[in-house]
């Protein structure tokens, strides 16, 4: 079957999709977006976390046919998504003209990477993960980034308990989570300072 949906702001069409196929498989194998990771395939690990119509979900548990006409944001689109969000609220310090120019570039640039990294810059949460040393093997990182970014959007001043709760569906076997906690605290602090 054919599935039409929007990924990171761009219309996508996936063909010859098997009816039992997951959104994760479509993203990785058909659309060339391998950022969302395939680990447990049963919703235990959170490494395939994406946003479906804004809501964080495990893409391994969404049937491809269920996303027809819907909007998906993956880790590849996180920087753009975060930038649009902060520009939308006028907090990014970018002039409307600049923002418009940037958007136009984003939708047109044929990087050949099928929507991956149209810009070299990172979202604040990605930068915070790097700065705090929250990435070791990196396999869980995309899911954690998507989940953490969504929490900071909802809850700009999270307590440690809020962070743990929001990330409770994402497993990391390297870091022991402390650096991840540091990274999210750092991103929250920078966000509230308007950095």
């Amino acid at each position: 079957m054919r599935v039409n949906f929007t990924v990171n702001g761009r219309p996508q069409e996936a063909d010859d999709v098997w009816e039992g196929e997951s959104l994760l498989y479509v993203l990785r194998e058909r659309l060339g977006l391998p950022g969302s990771k395939n680990a447990c395939e049963q919703g235990e690990c959170g490494s395939c976390t994406v946003r479906l119509d804004g809501v964080p979900v495990c893409s391994c548990l969404v049937a491809a046919g269920q996303v027809e006409g819907r909007e998906v944001v993956t880790v590849e689109g996180l920087a753009d998504y975060a930038r649009q969000r902060s520009c939308g609220t006028g907090a990014c310090g970018t002039s409307p003209d600049e923002a418009r120019r940037w958007q136009a570039k984003g939708t047109d640039s044929g990087t050949g990477q099928s929507g991956a990294f149209p810009h070299a810059t990172l979202s604040p949460i990605q930068q915070a993960f790097i700065d705090a040393g929250a990435v070791q093997c990196g396999f869980c990182t995309p899911g954690l980034l998507v989940a953490a970014d969504e929490m900071l959007e909802r809850n700009p001043n999270p307590t440690d308990a809020d962070i743990r709760e929001a990330l409770s569906g994402n497993l990391c076997r390297c870091t022991g989570y402390e650096k991840i906690m540091d990274a999210v605290r750092l991103a929250a602090a920078r966000q509230s300072e308007g950095v």
């Binding site: 395939e41 969404v62 049937a63």
Partner: protein, 296 residues
């Protein structure tokens, strides 16, 4: 495999009548696991995600009509005062990602003895609204679970909603697992005080082939509370009554040994949860009775 995409509830019922083997999928948190692991290859997969009314709830005079696909996240956010037991149970479901997708309709459809919603539904009192092209019926929750992962639905029926009584007293929910998130219950326990009818209802999960109520324990406690005038005098429940209640709840279990725990551990833990939830709910009841005195 065929992917059915009904645009309306009527279309879904017609499709289910035409293809009784069709597997409904909403949040997908059970169905997709089975498909991903090749445990199931349904002939038809029927997406209910386009049927808006399944994601809505109505709060009435006495109860809540909860659409089958209302995600656990929404129950936690919006129905905590009407359905405190179910809201607590919802919070123990897996992770935020899963709670954003899964709902009570799927829990009932799967009818796993470990489903987190079941003890809360049993304790609160609920009816499952099942519909087919033949019509609609309401199945009392006590009659809904018929075996391990079996329920009372006919092959052409779909779950439209669950009708749950609004809380008329304190409710509690307790679950045993190795951590707070992403845990399939080793066992779980729901308790609801119903001061209006002066009754207590229970629900036990993961400790029998189906979710069950501890009826003998309920009857014992109802009689003990009545006899001692507890509902009126608001006294502390005596340890001997609490212990007898806990023992009867343990006795209502018919558990198995499995990777998550042994049968004897489950029996023991259900007793502990029964005693604790009774204490919590009763203290809360006393607190509301003597609001000015606080929970002494």
């Amino acid at each position: 495999m065929d992917f059915l995409r009904p645009a309306s509830w009527e279309e879904a019922l017609a499709a289910k009548a035409e293809h009784p083997t069709a597997v409904p999928i909403a949040g997908g948190t059970d169905v997709m696991v089975e498909i991903n692991f090749d445990h199931r290859r349904p002939e038809y997969l029927m997406d209910l995600g386009r049927i808006g009314e399944l994601y809505e709830w109505e709060v009435g005079e006495d109860g809540v009509r909860l659409g089958a696909s209302v995600p656990y996240t929404k129950i936690m956010e919006n129905l905590r005062s009407e359905l405190p037991g179910l809201a607590l149970a919802s919070h123990t479901v897996a992770s935020p990602q899963i709670r954003n997708r899964g709902g009570v309709g799927g829990n009932l459809g799967t009818a796993s003895p470990a489903g987190d919603a079941h003890p809360a539904l049993l304790a609160a009192g609920a009816e499952v609204e099942a519909q087919s092209v033949r019509g609609s019926r309401r199945i009392p929750i006590d009659e809904f679970y018929t075996g391990v992962k079996r329920n009372a639905l006919a092959p052409d029926e779909l779950i439209r909603a669950v009708h749950i009584k609004k809380a008329d007293g304190p409710q509690q929910y307790s679950k045993v697992g190795t951590r707070n998130a992403m845990v399939i219950a080793v066992c779980a326990f729901g308790l609801a005080l119903h001061p209006e009818t002066r009754t207590v209802r229970t629900g036990i999960g993961s400790a029998a082939p189906t979710p069950v109520r501890a009826r003998a324990a309920e009857e014992f406690l109802n009689a003990a509370l009545e006899e001692g005038g507890f509902w009126d005098n608001g006294k502390i429940i005596t340890p001997s009554v609490a212990k007898q209640f806990a023992d009867l709840c343990s006795a209502a279990c018919n558990p198995i040994d499995d990777v998550r725990g042994t049968a004897s551990y489950r029996r023991h833990a259900v007793g502990v949860m029964a005693r604790r939830t009774l204490t919590w709910t009763w203290e809360s009841y006393r607190g509301t009775r003597h609001a000015s005195e606080g929970a002494a």
